[in-house]
């Protein structure tokens, strides 16, 4: 009698546990479209350039992509030796909603040619253009590159957000984002337009290194003020950042 009772309890726990697992899976909020082609190593080529201390870019027109190293590391001195060179190297693509990044294989850089005398980089990280401001006005309007605007969003580490981790934002991911940014992954500002589409803007403040300053604000809603420095980057002074009321 007691044995049958206990068997019933055990069976109930097994079935109930599986049902609870299903419920918890279904109740989770949707995951973003981030993609990390883990295990797929491809060849990349272009001119390597730098903006700020932490942002290493590979330019090949188009597109222009940040280059980072494995783990929570932005780049290393070995890669910086190739700045302004046309380089070929191996890496893995990270991509989300049209924005992408390359995780380079360390020590795979080759520079078959002489340095490029005129790098296509600064002062604009991405080709100078107008950015359509959809955050602060009901009707999208072109915003001049140097016009001051305020944005509300969240500081994320660009590598995880674009796909290495999913989710790569929010409170649960905050410590990882802090570690990544501290290790040299470019900090970015996650914003949504009025249609609810998310995108990141790389945070820059050349020559000031933003990494230490942004750590205090990682993973929480904040309002920042500054100006667009190209279509995928935003110049801002962290001393002006505030938590929205």
């Amino acid at each position: 009698m007691k044995s049958r009772f206990v068997s019933g309890i055990a069976a109930g726990l097994l079935v109930g546990g599986a049902a609870l697992a299903a419920l918890l899976v279904l109740a989770q909020q949707p995951f973003g479209n981030g993609r990390f082609e883990f295990g797929t190593v491809k060849s990349f080529a272009g001119v390597l350039e730098s903006f700020d201390e932490h942002l290493l870019l590979l330019s090949l027109n188009p597109p222009r992509r940040p280059v980072v190293y494995p783990g929570k590391h932005g780049s290393s001195e070995s890669a910086r030796e190739f700045l302004t060179h046309y380089v070929e190297f191996k890496g893995t693509l990270i991509e989300r909603d049209g924005q992408s990044m390359i995780e380079a294989v360390p020590d795979s850089f080759l520079a078959p040619t002489q340095p490029v005398t005129k790098a296509p980089g600064p002062p604009s990280l991405w080709p100078p253009q107008y950015f359509t401001d959809q955050q602060s006005s009901p009707t999208p309007r072109p915003v001049a590159v140097r016009e001051s605007v305020s944005l509300i969003g969240e500081v994320v580490d660009s590598k995880c957000y674009l796909g290495v981790m999913n989710p790569g934002s929010g409170k649960v991911h905050r410590d990882c984002a802090a570690r990544c940014i501290s290790g040299g992954i470019p900090p970015a500002f996650l914003v949504k337009d009025r249609a609810g589409r998310s995108r990141i803007l790389y945070l820059v403040n050349d020559p000031f290194d933003l990494r230490e300053a942004v750590l205090e604000f990682v993973g929480e809603p904040i309002r920042i003020t500054g100006h667009f420095a190209g279509s995928q980057s935003f110049w801002s002074d962290p001393r002006t950042w505030k938590h929205p009321e």
Partner: protein, 342 residues
């Protein structure tokens, strides 16, 4: 019953218990991860594994904490109590894998030691919204490790039952830390009320079961009157043959056993692991603890030779078909003449 190290031995009942635990863990993880891959194809494998293990550990600690009060409310649950230690160790292992995966995922491969990162990445202790939620989980894992590491009888005997029991009562602190870990972390990132509802339901269930068990036992309490020597505890008919009725006299649990035409009373707390002697029965003339089979003579509370365990004994009387117990406990192992049923 010695202080020497003894290898853990498995009997068929324990094997069945462990197989059910393993099957349950496997079923949960498979359901969570496979369904997760289907419903959330963009989720990374590490995220699904971390979430599956974390939610499973939380489910298991709810089951573990519910077993005790359920057994006090309904003796049919007692077989679940028999091997609860294995369930506890399994729960720790699941939580530990969750913790290690999370440590690697969120703090590994960086510019500082992962443990240093865990303790220093977020120090906003004054803010509830920004509180470093991983720390409560880490502290809970340390407590669960101490409990799992000392779950063997060797540690029970080495630490003494009082210290061992105090250590293992810290499971309630670990539970509170885990609730804080989830409430200040995952629940702040997720938007579905289902997740908060499930956690609240678990918390309410565990609390309600403990309150219900306490209320039920309080009804059995017998408060000694000042100056009274013997307290009436029950009718003779209320005690099944070779079984006991457990009463609380003052702050002490007393197991009143009936065997043949005799009535004897000893402490309800086993000297081995504080098991409930009153929920056991008399086998071969000895009160036998339902947890691990430790035995005591009902008329003295002493284990039969060559064993040396002893529990306090109590004087008993029978008047007009009612059993009376002297509320003053005698020294452990003190022989007492049983009351005779005429």
């Amino acid at each position: 019953m010695s202080v020497h190290y003894q290898a853990v031995s498995w009997n068929p009942a324990k094997r069945t218990y462990d197989l059910v635990i393993a099957a349950g863990i496997a079923a949960y993880l498979l359901m969570f991860i496979l369904l997760g891959i289907i419903v959330h194809p963009n989720a990374t494998a590490e995220t699904l594994i971390i979430r599956a293990l974390g939610t499973l550990a939380l489910l298991l600690i709810h089951v573990i904490l519910s077993i005790g009060p359920l057994c006090r409310l309904d003796s049919r649950f007692l077989p679940l109590l028999y091997n609860r230690r294995h369930l506890g160790v399994a729960m720790f292992l699941v939580a530990a894998v969750h913790g290690v995966f999370s440590l690697i995922q969120f703090h590994g491969f960086g510019d500082v030691n992962p443990l240093v990162s865990l303790l220093t990445s977020n120090t906003r202790f004054s803010s509830l919204a920004d509180f470093p939620f991983q720390l409560p989980g880490f502290l809970a894992l340390i407590i669960l490790f101490l409990m799992a590491a000392t779950s063997h009888d060797f540690w029970l005997n080495t630490l003494t039952p009082r210290i061992w029991k105090s250590l293992h009562m810290m499971v309630y602190l670990a539970y509170a830390l885990l609730i804080a870990h989830v409430s200040l972390g995952a629940l702040q990132s997720e938007t579905s009320p289902v997740l908060a509802g499930v956690l609240a339901a678990g918390l309410v269930s565990v609390t309600s079961l403990h309150v219900a068990a306490a209320v039920r036992e309080r009804k059995l309490d017998v408060l000694p009157l000042p100056g009274a020597d013997f307290m009436e505890v029950c009718d003779i008919a209320a005690i099944p043959e070779n079984r006991a009725k457990v009463v609380t006299i003052g702050l002490e649990r007393v197991a009143v056993f009936r065997y043949g035409d005799k009535i004897s009373a000893i402490s309800n707390v086993c000297a081995h692991q504080n098991g409930p002697l009153g929920e056991g029965k008399i086998i071969d003339g000895c009160v036998t603890c339902p947890w691990h089979g430790y035995q005591y003579l009902p008329e003295s509370g002493a284990s039969p030779p060559p064993f040396t365990e002893k529990v306090p004994s109590y004087r008993t009387r029978i008047v007009d078909g009612k059993v009376f117990v002297d509320p003053c406990a005698l020294a452990p192992g003190t022989p007492v003449e049983p009351a005779r049923i005429v």
